[in-house]
Amino acid sequence: MESDSLSRRSLLQAIAATLGAAALPWADIVEAAGQAHAHAAAQAGRAKVTFLTAAEAADVEAVAAQIVPTDDTPGAREAGVITFIDRAMATFLSQLAADYRAHLAVFQASCRVQHPGTTFASLSSEQQIAFLKTVDRTPFFESTRLLTMLGMFTAPSYGGNRDGIGWKLLGFEANHMFQPPFGYYDRDYPGFTLDAGPTK
């Protein structure tokens, strides 16, 4: 599948886009990206994803789960953000897919430079957080955060926001009709009067 093949040109573009964001050994990263992608391609087909490979999906899901973590309330993982992102890249936001995959490869390669022989998803949460702090201004992180917000808070029909988890987190009620009072502060509003307040 053509979308599984990462072109050298798009990788270099992705690297150029991240330059200045963090001081990293770029030659190593380009090399590692090639290996990472080969590894990811070998994993393809194991998860129910259509655009991302299983290994890519594991890393993206792990990043999303750090963006909106699970604590006493559900987070990105429970909301099914990874399903949303995979479906978005495969279908309704496919114009972003090539750049996203290229940025993801850079992210994975950078991670392998820091943590050889493993993947972001396999790191401990503390290690993940420490690494993300070094890359949280890169195009990959920013795109993933954007997609995580969309996957958490748009309609469940797009694959995320499972059971309205995202809307419950916000306190948003998906109704088509409301009546005043809407909130605490308009409850006992006395009505608008022209002389109600001090004037200059």
């Binding site: 750090q66 963006i67 909106v68 973590p69 604590d71 309330t73 987070g75 309704f92 936001l93 114009q95 972003l96 750049d99 957080i129 993300l132 949280d136 201004r137 992180f141 920013e142 955060r145 954007l146 917000m149 969309l150 958490m152 808070f153 748009t154 309609a155 029909s157 797009y158 995202g166 809307w167 987190l169 916000l170 306190g171 948003f172 998906a174 109704n175 088509h176 009709m177 409301f178 009546q179 005043p180 809407f182 909130g183 605490y184 502060y185 308009d186 509003y189 608008f192 022209l194 109600a196 307040g197 001090p198 004037t199 200059k200």
Partner: protein
């Protein structure tokens, strides 16, 4: 359904390009005056009752707006740079369906004030800008503002604001019920000696002209109103135009060229129909109301041997003086729930800082309003990106403030500058093979200073009202707008303007332009009311010209 259809070979009196806030009004005026009219609309005709609260579709997938995939655009902040394609959202974002942006606007309906029309004379020249007076005054437009309020339907409270310009009639409907954000703004502003007032909105507070009152669903901004309480051309003037039996609204008809004869007169428009077949509609005159992005684009795409710079462009100003209206955000969280996601965006506004004040050290003024902002996902994106990297438990905690947050928007003047403009991208083409819109835009430093000034006042109001915490969203350069203003400005001098004060192009006698592109100054952030007042006035004058044989 259209009550009347015309054949391409029929020579109709008027083709109107665009069915939005301006085009709908002009169509109704001309059809009611007895003319045959074909309205060409790029987008489909969508019945509002079939619409849904689908934020993904409406904010990110071009649901009823221009689609970044089919209608790609490029953007740059400096003319020396190559403009880059905007992949997630268009830089110039507009309604692309029958009704245009009047479908998905917020429906804030302030009138411009007298000063918006003659500010250049009052304040003097601003070097490096195209700051100019209008060829008309507020008094020329007053009766048409009143016409908008009564015929489109605006709720509000007349004479509540000491800053409002004179009016001949009150509003036809009382203001909408106040929201918590409105109460908070009113309380904070009054503590500071300011003058908050109920916001005029083109949303029914009571049943009006056959449309019901608002049900407070909260999906105005970016969505068409499914109960028709929010006025749009689709549900007001277009049915009235069609009821004359003389107006056809032709949806999915994408006009890409206006043709002229040897005498330099317009003969009709070339368009792609829904099957992408190229067709031609003959007309005695053409009115372009395609918005401040598509109107100049169409004129530039209509360049020919006779008009090599583009149609109606002897001034070289077609596409130039693009103005956005910056808006800054002062945010706050309160102890108790506001639930701002319910009901209309805005219920209280403050116009105390409307006028420019030389003592501030920069040009500019603005209007402020209290609001939630967009729906959940876009709100969350803004929350996550407001100031640098934000994620993890810090982000999650802020997301959980959703029902307790609000913001005060500070809507600014934008100075007209030639370097801010719409041109044809030299490389990128749309899905019809037509040149993409290329936007070049950089806020004038005074626009950003005004944004900051209003943001500071907003924080003061929120703190005076007892905010638990108030903060400022970063003021970053504009890269996207839904206010598309000034790109075919009106004026008396054909060298420094594109249309005359009756919207007739200086160069082509039977070509009229009427929409946001006509504006000479930007106003203070809510342009649709003025665009529609101009359209009522233009429609009336164009009908008179036709009657007198002056077209």
């Amino acid at each position: 359904m259209s009550a009347r259809t015309y054949r391409d070979t029929d020579v109709v009196d008027f083709v109107i390009v665009g069915s939005g806030a301006a085009g709908g009004v002009v169509a109704r005026q001309l059809a009611q005056a007895g003319h045959s009219v074909v309205v060409m609309e790029q987008g489909p005709r969508v019945w509002p009752g079939g619409l849904e609260h689908d934020e993904m579709k409406h904010w990110y997938l071009g649901g009823i707006t221009n689609d970044p995939v089919k209608n790609p655009q490029t953007f740059r902040d400096d003319p020396s740079k190559k403009a880059l394609q905007t992949k997630l959202k268009p830089a110039l974002w507009y309604g692309r369906a029958v009704g245009g942006a009047s479908l998905h606007y917020t429906a804030n309906y302030w009138r411009f004030h007298e000063i918006d029309f003659n500010e250049r004379s009052v304040l003097g020249e601003i070097p490096g800008t195209g700051f100019a007076d209008w060829p008309i005054t507020y008094a020329d437009l007053e009766k048409y503002y009143t016409q908008v309020e009564w015929e489109i339907g605006v709720s509000g409270l007349a004479n509540a604001s000491p800053f409002d310009p004179p009016r001949s009639k009150p509003y036809p409907m009382p203001p909408l019920p106040v929201k918590s954000s409105g109460v908070i703004m009113e309380r904070g502003a009054r503590k500071l000696g300011l003058h908050p007032i109920p916001s005029p909105m083109a949303i029914n507070s009571v049943p009006y002209r056959g449309r019901p009152a608002c049900v407070h669903c909260g999906f105005c901004h970016g969505f068409a109103c499914e109960v028709l309480a929010k006025a749009s051309s689709l549900t007001t003037v277009i049915p009235e135009a069609e009821a004359t039996g003389r107006c056809e609204v032709r949806s999915e008809s994408y006009v890409h060229r206006i043709d002229v004869n040897k005498q330099g007169r317009v003969t009709g428009v070339a368009f792609f129909d829904r099957l992408k077949r190229e067709r031609f509609q003959h007309a005695r005159a053409v009115v372009v109301s395609a918005n401040g992005a598509e109107t100049p684009r169409l004129l530039l795409m209509s360049a020919n041997a006779q008009f090599p710079q583009g149609l109606a462009n002897s001034s070289g100003l077609v596409g130039k003086y693009l103005m956005f209206n910056y808006n800054s955000r002062a945010l706050a969280v309160f102890d108790h729930p506001l639930n701002e996601y319910k009901s209309v965006q805005v219920t209280r506004i403050v116009h105390d800082f409307y006028n420019s004040d030389p003592k501030r050290g920069f040009y500019g003024g603005g209007g402020m309003d209290a609001r939630m902002g967009p729906q959940p996902a876009t709100w969350a994106i803004r929350t996550a990106t407001a100031d640098g990297p934000k994620w993890g438990s810090e982000l999650k905690a802020q997301l959980q403030e959703f029902t307790h947050q609000m913001h005060i928007a500070g809507h600014t003047t934008s100075l007209a500058m030639e370097s801010n403009n719409v041109t044809l991208d030299p490389e990128l083409k749309d899905a019809w093979g037509l040149p993409a819109i290329r936007t070049t835009y950089k806020d004038h430093p005074d626009d950003l200073a005004t944004a900051k000034f209003l943001q500071d006042r907003g924080v003061e109001i929120l703190e005076a009202a007892g905010a638990k915490r108030a903060w400022r969203a970063p003021i970053t350069p504009s890269t996207l707008s839904v206010h598309l203003l000034g790109t075919c400005r009106m004026g008396n001098d054909p060298k420094s303007s594109v249309i005359d004060k009756f919207h007739r192009s200086h160069d082509v006698p039977n070509l009229f332009l009427c929409d946001g592109s006509s504006l000479v100054t930007s106003g203070r952030g809510q342009p649709t009311m003025t665009i529609q007042a101009l359209a009522f006035r233009a429609g009336e004058h164009i009908a008179e010209f036709a009657k007198r044989g002056e077209i």
